[in-house]
Symmetry: C2
């Protein structure tokens, strides 16, 4: 191949005039390698010595990068054996049936755990009213919940429901400890994902605490509208997903 | 509504024993309000005085939070008028036809700009080989490109192509300054998105520099497989999307 080389190397570290320390750059470079499949689940990373040589830094800097990856749950050290790439994140498959209970089904025991952290009433803003096809100012019930599936696999989410149809859903949620059952108790036997917008941000401290993740690493966020079997919007949601445990998968 | 109140208030700031300063927490809280539609595009945020009272902090802390939001491109201050929520991000619609050229079409002038930053050859890892349905070790061509659509709207991406079919794609890329045309020049007239995994991370400094975004705020990343009209995989991709400008939309 006659490669057109516009840049010298994959590992061009920026050493000054930047906000990002060199160890953080190395951490991100290794993270990209994991996401790109250079290192797969269970693979042993090159040794500290090899990484130090590759990046042209000392071993202390490499150790900081590896500690950062371990804090994010992307690698784990085995004493005397080396540093290994963690298992792949769980896929949250985004289709018409996308819901947290589908993630729960993949773990032994099924049900998972669901905890209501907050519930209050507020009027629909213009944006939410448009999504739910109601008038701005319509009363909504806003819930804030933590839901867990397998070990450490959780999502923290906010849901807005039209009050006229879902009054008392907070009590149903507490009674059943299940989001899907609480919705069913309000007369909606089935619901479906209609539209989803995916972005990312830093977690709120209470989100990080509930999910037992560091408050200093970004999370995936999904904002979405679910509808009933007649395609009427039933809720507007916003959920936080720890990216080292969950990634969103879409087959098209 | 008989609300079940497990937590006192929406704005429960954590003041000590944490890694996240209070102004960052307020910044994230306002960001969540924007994502949840409490504040819509073009809305004026409450005044510094009102925000200070709401969060129970001084105005200096509020100003830091607002400066952080402005740096991320989520709000902009108008001298003497207040602080306004920026326009909504551009939707990148994820379906079978998902490709950057679809985003470009939404801007005047169409074509956008495409720059090859790097190109090299490497063997397929197990993970990439499985995705591309080739043997591990098969030679790949790896490109690194910046592509722009409208003002400031860009993506920075990495693509792995089987060499046997795409040898010379780097030259075609430079010739046409278009990703789609380079693929066409290699004999693939049409291609389609097959599978996508969405996550997030901090940007590499060279990604942040190319996209003209701060290196300190997280980006959305998509890893994906595209196929030709016969459903044969043609590339394995990994792209970085600045979240204040672009969000991923999926209709199901």
């Amino acid at each position: 191949m006659e490669a057109t080389r516009h840049m010298e190397a994959t590992y061009k570290l920026v050493r000054n005039g930047r906000d990002v320390p060199v160890w953080r750059q190395i951490e991100t470079d290794i993270e990209v390698d994991i996401q790109m499949g250079v290192f797969g689940p269970g693979d042993r990373l090159p040794s500290e010595h090899e990484l130090a040589a590759k990046f042209g830094v000392n071993r202390h800097t490499v150790r900081q990068a590896l500690a950062g990856l371990a804090e994010k749950g992307l690698v784990h050290a085995q004493r005397g054996r080396g540093v290994f790439v963690a298992d792949e994140p769980v896929d949250y498959t985004l289709d018409r049936n996308a819901k947290w209970s589908e993630v729960e089904k993949r773990f032994d025991g099924g049900g998972g755990e669901a905890v209501l952290h907050d519930c209050r009433e507020l009027p629909a803003t213009r944006q939410v009213a448009r999504a739910l096809r109601i008038a701005p100012g319509t009363p909504l019930i806003a819930t804030e919940t933590l839901r867990r599936a397998g070990p450490g696999i959780g999502t923290y989410g906010y849901h807005l429901f039209p009050k006229v149809r879902f009054d008392g859903i907070d009590r149903e949620f507490v009674r059943h400890a299940s989001f899907t059952k609480a919705i069913a108790a309000c007369g909606v036997a089935e619901f479906f994902r209609r539209s989803t917008w995916i972005s990312c941000r830093m977690p709120r401290p209470r989100e990080a605490e509930a999910l037992a993740i560091p408050a200093t690493i970004p999370v995936i966020v999904m904002t979405y509208v679910d509808t009933d079997a007649e395609d009427a919007p039933i809720l507007y949601g916003h959920g936080v997903f720890p990216r080292h445990l969950i990634r969103i998968r879409i087959d098209t």
